[in-house]
Symmetry: C2
Subunit: 464 residues, 2 copies
Amino acid sequence: MKNNYKVNSKLALFFVIAFSYVGLSQNSDEEQIKKLYDTALTEGSGYDWLNYLSNQIGGRLSGSIQAQQAVDYTKAQLDSLGVDKVWLQPVMVPKWVRGTPEFAYFETNPGATTNVAICAIGGSVPTPPRGIKANIIEVEGIEQLSSLGKDKIQGKIVFFNKPMDATQINTFTAYSNCVDQRYAGALEASEYGAVGVIVRSMNLRLDDYPHTGSMSYGEQAGSERIPAAAISTNAAELLSTSLKLNPDINFYFKQNCKQFDDVESYNVIGEIKGTTKPEEVIVVGGHLDSWDLGDGSHDDGAGCVQSMEVLNLFKKIGYKPKRTVRVVLFMNEENGLRGGNKYAEFANAKNEKHIFAIESDSGGFSPRGFTFESSDKDFEKVLEWKNLFKPYLVHYFEKGFSGADIGPLKKDGLVLAGLRPDSQRYFDHHHAENDTFEHVNKRELQLGAASMASLIYLIDKYGF
Amino acid sequence: MKNNYKVNSKLALFFVIAFSYVGLSQNSDEEQIKKLYDTALTEGSGYDWLNYLSNQIGGRLSGSIQAQQAVDYTKAQLDSLGVDKVWLQPVMVPKWVRGTPEFAYFETNPGATTNVAICAIGGSVPTPPRGIKANIIEVEGIEQLSSLGKDKIQGKIVFFNKPMDATQINTFTAYSNCVDQRYAGALEASEYGAVGVIVRSMNLRLDDYPHTGSMSYGEQAGSERIPAAAISTNAAELLSTSLKLNPDINFYFKQNCKQFDDVESYNVIGEIKGTTKPEEVIVVGGHLDSWDLGDGSHDDGAGCVQSMEVLNLFKKIGYKPKRTVRVVLFMNEENGLRGGNKYAEFANAKNEKHIFAIESDSGGFSPRGFTFESSDKDFEKVLEWKNLFKPYLVHYFEKGFSGADIGPLKKDGLVLAGLRPDSQRYFDHHHAENDTFEHVNKRELQLGAASMASLIYLIDKYGF
């Protein structure tokens, strides 16, 4: 009995010490994370930065004056934070310009025309100066082209009308499942002799905003390229219904967009040097360019200011990271990914050791969690921290896609992550005229920044 | 060895059977729940109903013509669903009318006036016809009145300026922590001789909308009652800053709101009779009345149409509940709770056996989960279902407040619950002119309805 008692007593002592230690460490993490969230909600600068980017600068398409203004502005703001180093990384980017507003109508009978809202898809060639008018034929998606064949498509405008699947809870999945018609619709339809394509906007809601986005002609010769435009979901529904009543409808559209030679632009980079492991780099970023129709508040002004906020929060709470924490505002995610590629190229050339990179490029909505591209071992480690996020209702920790700009960094041993905000409203605004500042809620934006800062804090402290 | 093998083999068989059974049952629940969500997202009627309530009827303050129109409209819609029984439950409600738009300014020097946005708080007495003008004194909250005392307050207007705490992740907690100044500020300040009160709007955002809400004079004699108005957060900040520069500021306000005698109104009720246990009742509800400034889309048109949608979804997927599932659209939550009290009174008088009641009255935002008022045992049972909600990102299952209207039903053995949507944007709109339809996202609204329907499906199937 006595002996037993001694063993138990020793064991008890061991547990007391072990749990105190864990308790202390957990407690301090809880406290630091609470400080990060409190500071983000009460003293953050992200919302003000976004206000400037959105309302003073506006849409920031690669190669535009606004993109350059955004480079200058964010560099100046990072400078003013007093971080250790701020610099610009030159990168050549494509320059595509929309030109004068597009115009389109469909004609059920000669003279009986209905105007519809369209916009050129980014990278499209223009129509001839007087526009194109041709019979229009509806398809559900690219896969339907071959069953119709050249006979039915030749000389016509193809109307891609595959809707986003409303039953997907993650709206990005619905997007992935039909964005091929926007990206490759023109290339594919031209193989069947189509003279133009009209694509249903990637929008789960019925409204009057056409949504632009990127497309590619691959290696197609310039003379074979056909113009492509997106049509609003309301107009797509109307056109589709009209085609059911009368399959013989002419569609007219005119756009004078133009591709210029590449121009020089920049990734904007700032960092806090690590105290004990400065050679290990943690990246947090978003993309500074946006489409031209709205002001790019959700896509991706939000991700940029949230990333800048991470450094700001560390400064404000006096946290000095062991590792180097670097914000990267990537240029040209939307129509080229040149910034992401350039950053990875430099990092590799300098043999920098990146241990973690996270991107915010899914809107400034309430953060729900993170997705990770990592080994099982590293993912297990991340899951141990999940409970620390529970008070902030950040609950979604899953393996999955991280972000386009940090993708080129991918290599064994590097963990990539993406911030996952609530996705329900994202495609109401994505690439459209109504991606504007008033649709961003300050608290939701700041909670996203705090969530990234907290995860980076843990990774900096404990490593992988 | 052989014997052992036999035992193991029997055990194995047992597990195969047991797990197949569980597997089957789980699977069928998963399928039913997926059907509910899919149907809500593709064929639901909630958003259209809300469009009508908000845009064709508008704000539905108790006793108003709009409240009566909302009773008629929702009854007709429930009738058209072909549920087993639809009826109106009469209830006498207070009738308070705002009158002509309020007007207010503050005066730093004679003639140097700044107009500010105010609205009468619901239930307030009017000012005299020509308004009130008096020195204004700022306090942080009710608790500060006693330290100032009658000397400093007598004859003045008291300006309650306690802000909502931005560090609360659940914005309803921030609301609870300072709403006493709106509810009881006039009563308390009048005890110190104040002649009126101006209350900072319950809004976490800085903007120009004053937010109304309810207040009470308790048993105070009519002659002692002083008028109360809410001021927008931007104006509250401006006034507070001005008072720091110059404590001697006069404030003027005028409002001619009026309390009339009670009038008759109705709870709107519809139900699907249970197949095998019709005597056990499950209630789902929201409140049909709203404040008068906006159109009451989030508060609580959303909760009403989500509750109606539950019956609609059961009909659409062909689910016949074992128990009676009843939607109740309560009248007069905002300024009296008469509908909630009346419903409980009738249910008790008829000795009805309610086993579960859930309310949606926290806005039509992305559903995050539920709160429960229940015994530990019943709560454990609910937690077993939590994983079924994971695909829909519904993750928050906690004990906590359910809803005001179902509160009067409370008794041992009855489980009460509240739908908990994301709360970050709620107080941007709550009780203000901008609680309007365009701020409700269809998918978020419908996901909330499906979440309630799924929980009710499980409770109906398995009971407590």
